[in-house]
């Protein structure tokens, strides 16, 4: 995955030696093009090929965004976990920036999942919301990462921000499966979860194609956000060169 391409920035004390790193990273327009084209194609394919659902009719087509968005949420937060731990391990600024970018993008997908789910739930179940395990844990996950982003916003010092959010990101991700389990048990004590588990094979191919397209979008978003973060840092490093170099 191109996320892992190494840019050679910088533990906080080392980066002076590596002035190359201060150069702004390349932007990736081709990926934007490919990923959005893929989404349009995949949506078109899925919508055209899938039969109308017995209960929901064409409402079912929300699934092709809703479900991939949910998967991408999980994937992003997994990236947060990996890079947070890696940051604590190696203390490289890059890892923090990737984790932060993934968190932001993940929170966006998370919000999208919730919104689409609710829009879907209203006609499908007659209510906007039920306290089902999957729904509730998705909402709690969202809140955990809202906290993560708030923490980043409230801290000013770059290193403090990096260390704190790495710790919070890792511990937050650790809690996700526990939240899911507990909400599930909480629910199942009383009545079985009402979320649709059964999926007709007619829909699976469309879903998979859309998931792959969405994955491209995810990669594009995280990379793009990361590049912006790098550019912001690059400005700082250029200011540094001016400050330390000039008389």
């Amino acid at each position: 995955m191109s996320l892992k391409r190494e840019g050679k920035l910088t533990s906080s004390t080392d980066h002076l030696r590596d002035t190359q790193a201060a150069r702004p990273p390349r932007t990736s327009n081709w990926l934007a093009f490919v990923s959005f084209a893929a989404v349009i194609a995949a949506q078109a394919y899925a919508i055209l090929t899938s039969p109308a659902d017995a209960d929901m009719g064409h409402l079912q087509k929300i699934m092709y965004v809703h479900v991939p968005a949910a998967w991408m949420t999980f994937l992003s937060f997994f990236v947060v976990l990996v890079f947070s731990v890696r940051y604590l391990w190696r203390r490289q600024e890059n890892d923090d920036l990737i984790a932060a970018s993934a968190a932001e993008v993940g929170a966006t997908f998370n919000g999208l999942t919730l919104m689409l789910g609710m829009i879907w739930g209203r006609p499908a179940w007659g209510v906007w919301w039920v306290w089902d395990a999957r729904l509730t844990s998705t909402l709690v996950l969202f809140l955990i990462f809202v906290g993560y982003l708030a923490l980043r916003a409230f801290t000013e010092d770059a290193q403090q921000k990096a260390q704190w959010s790495a710790a919070v990101g890792a511990i937050g991700a650790l809690n996700v499966p526990i939240v899911y389990m507990s909400v599930k048990w909480w629910r199942t004590l009383h009545q079985p979860p009402s979320s649709p588990e059964t999926l007709d094979p007619a829909y699976t191919l469309g879903l998979r194609i859309n998931a792959i397209a969405m994955l491209l979008v995810l990669i594009y978003f995280i990379r793009r956000r990361y590049e912006i973060a790098r550019l912001e840092r690059a400005v700082e490093h250029m200011a540094e060169a001016a400050a330390m170099g000039g008389g």
């Binding site: 906080s12 004390t13 002076l16 200011a239 400050a243």
Partner: protein, 233 residues
């Protein structure tokens, strides 16, 4: 000077520090030898406090290196903390504890006997208010208590940020005797100040910081009463 001691008690080489994108220190290099007390002067906002905070391991530098008695201030921060006595602008005391309780807490943290607490309260002239809560202390009394906490740990290197402010004449003498004690036993002191008068007798030389760079060195004790501009890096 003691044996086996490195010849530079405080050492900074090309120190750079930024807040956000603004560079506040732009390559500060300085050395303080054991047995030396050095003043750090300079206009408001020139970076004096920042230099001391970096040396005291409270801030990480963004460029350059530094060491205290040969211990690196980044890699060996914990070792540095064992050697350094740092005094900030603010006294950093617990308002709801008494003077004695504040020092006993420090003794606990440092693994020292409580008997030392009473003697250092005595020394700073706070023995009579030892059991009063710090909340009601005046500015100068708080600074004296911070000083008592400082001597508790018998520091080898003093980093003092405007230590004379709020102190009366007697307090100034006290502060000077503490600095003298450390320096005479082969320690070192770096003292940020604006007003030279109270420290005049104490300092071997002063450095002047301007916009994050050392701009001048001034010999105090040696009688060279003129300013030597040094190369800025």
């Amino acid at each position: 000077m003691l044996n086996g001691q490195p010849d530079r008690a405080i050492h900074l080489n090309g120190l750079g520090k930024r807040f956000g994108i603004r560079w506040v220190l732009r390559g500060v290099s300085l050395d303080v030898r054991p047995g030396e007390a050095v003043g750090l002067m300079g206009p408001n906002g020139s970076g004096k406090s920042t230099v001391l905070r970096v040396l005291g391991t409270l801030l990480n530098p963004n460029a350059g290196t530094g060491s205290i008695n040969g211990l690196d201030i980044v890699r060996d921060a914990s070792g540095v903390r064992g050697q350094v006595g740092y005094m900030a602008h603010t006294p950093g005391l617990y308002d709801d504890l008494t003077a004695r309780e504040n020092l006993r807490f420090a003794a606990d943290m440092l693994g020292l006997q409580y008997t030392m607490v009473d003697s250092s309260l005595e020394r700073v002239g706070l023995a009579s208010v030892a059991d009063a809560r710090v909340r009601g202390f005046s500015a100068g009394m708080q600074r004296r208590l911070a000083l008592a906490r400082l001597i508790l740990r018998s520091p080898r290197v003093l980093l003092l940020d405007e230590p004379y402010s709020n102190l009366d004449t007697e307090g100034v003498e006290l502060m000077n005797s503490v600095i003298a004690g450390v320096v005479e036993s082969g320690g070192a002191a770096l003292v940020a100040l604006h007003e030279l008068a109270p420290a005049k007798a104490m300092l071997d030389r002063t450095l002047t910081l301007v916009e994050g760079r050392i701009a001048a060195t001034h010999q105090e004790r040696a009688g060279l009463e003129h300013t030597t501009p040094t190369e800025t890096r």
